[in-house]
Symmetry: C2
Subunit: 352 residues, 2 copies
Amino acid sequence: MSEQIRPSLRAEPARPSPTLEDLARAAGVSRSTASRAINGGSRVSPEAQAAVDDAVIALGYTPNRAARSLVTRRTSSIALVINEPDARVMMDPFFAAVITGVTEALRETDMQLVLLMSRAGGDPSRTVRYLRGGHVDGAIVVSHHKADGWTEELAASGLPTVFIGRPWDTALGIHYVDVDSFQGARLAALHLAAAGRTRLGTVTGPLDMTAAADRLAGWQAGLREAGLPQGPVAHGDFTAAGGTAAADLLLAQDGRLDGIFAASDLMARGAILAVQSSGRAVPGDVAVVGFDDHLPAPGELPLTTINQPMVEIAAEAGRLLLADIEDPGAGRDPVIYPARLVVRASSTPQAD
Amino acid sequence: MSEQIRPSLRAEPARPSPTLEDLARAAGVSRSTASRAINGGSRVSPEAQAAVDDAVIALGYTPNRAARSLVTRRTSSIALVINEPDARVMMDPFFAAVITGVTEALRETDMQLVLLMSRAGGDPSRTVRYLRGGHVDGAIVVSHHKADGWTEELAASGLPTVFIGRPWDTALGIHYVDVDSFQGARLAALHLAAAGRTRLGTVTGPLDMTAAADRLAGWQAGLREAGLPQGPVAHGDFTAAGGTAAADLLLAQDGRLDGIFAASDLMARGAILAVQSSGRAVPGDVAVVGFDDHLPAPGELPLTTINQPMVEIAAEAGRLLLADIEDPGAGRDPVIYPARLVVRASSTPQAD
DNA sequence: ATTGGACATGGGAGCGCTCTCACGAGCATG
DNA sequence: CATGCTCGTGAGAGCGCTCCCATGTCCAAT
């Protein structure tokens, strides 16, 4: 009775989608039963269930998410908070891996991923307000900096949250997934030492990030362990250009440097460039080790690096978040993935 | 009953956030007036407005999006549909640019970006169902393939939609933003011809995408215009490895090939590799032209390419979508950005 | 035969918001 | 002075859903 004498094929731009009420009527049951059937169907007779299932298909019924949210207080969406000022960081394969991993974890769920470029929008508090406003069921925070300030606020808000990369203040009991940066960097030092390199320098990431700080500490520990002097340290920003600039500084401090560990692959690429344009060869004169194990661009010198399984780490963060949303009380231990040394040509003339 | 005797400092995990009712009471006005004041405040006295504004700050009020959605039938979110099977395509700088651009367009809005990896989830129809289900106010579709099938369905659903890249069936009146692929490819051909190259081949993208088809057509038109033979054509898949394989084919077909146009930068990089490993030099023996104008990785041979302003294109798609959501009826012309030739070292020994 | 539990069902309230409508106050118009 | 407005306001309905609770039905246990 809702269809008019309407000659056009699709003149109705917004045919109101069927409601649960409609569905129930079509299935010959009550709204309550229809609702139960839709949601897993406990306490529903097989006949009623079948009738509802058929009606769902016949009507093309989709539950109205807003209405459902309103009463359940759940939104079926989680936020991926990318905490960098410039949206251009998206170019970093790191974030691609994160998105890939999180998407993977959400695949079988009906959860949706909301992308939140927290600092790109200008107002950082807007992000917190959004997160606290109950618009999402949980959040994954990536690329956390020391001075962000809202870590505490977020932890206090009670919103299920998982960090990718250890947050600064672990006392808050925030859940996180990380790679063992310390051990990874230590392995890099030991590897270079084992390869007979003795004058070693490092290019760090921004030290307001735990990953960068841990890698520096691990590196220094490795050098100590190998009985080598600490050597020069220069600070980069996880970009290739920053790696080049930092490596230039390193080379200026020690003209006979024979090994460099950079805290990311991108910076290692930049460092190789710096070495080469100083007239020295990689790995002949200077061995270079990175951290990440991104897929190399075609034709690039294969890079010795510390592998971190970012896609898997992000997926685990996703799973952890889902679990935390299901069962908020539970304390969950951080998940730390081991870092593996992958030896390639940039540190050993004979390798691959 | 779920809370144990827990001495923790912030024991209330979910203090119910204030409702409009609370806000109205605090401001000493009615719920209606509070609502009006929140939403732009027409027909609200300055005093009432001020009282509400104060109360908002005092209570930290955030409107409940679900409740609002339920009545307004708007969700304040749009979907970015990435229509590729493998989530790993995220590694392509192309998508990074798209996300950057769309985010930019949404910056001043309270719209949120929902990421939809349409084919990665396995079930493609799930995406359509989600989109038709009224969960978002609009959609931006990127990386559209000929056989997707749901273009029509989407167009018929009445959901405001903007494609990035021309859809196959423009008769449906779908809005889109694109770069002038035809002209860009034509420019590439003319450039190579002007540089004195005469034995030219091309590496195409997947021809079930309009961008790839248009570039092939433009390339062929350019050759015709320059009075050159059509030369060999090999098909790539917009990846570097695909570019290498396709270029190998090209070189096998014509051992004296002296110029290659690849329909993307990534494929051009792959093609350069193929040329070099065949023992010939770029640009000395073979000039290579790409399409995209991505930022080059450090140390790479500067690539002559066709610039397409992807960030801007994506931002325009975002703006177009917002406009279409505001005012659904309006027919909007496609926006086509010009493609610019950027000459660098890969095609001219003396350049940059 | 009587009780009682397990189970399937439907009625109704209510989540937090917007929006229509009616109302009174204030003002200019006839 | 009556009439028609514009304007600010509040009451109330209702968006589509879930969930609590009351009701009805059937079968095992007494």
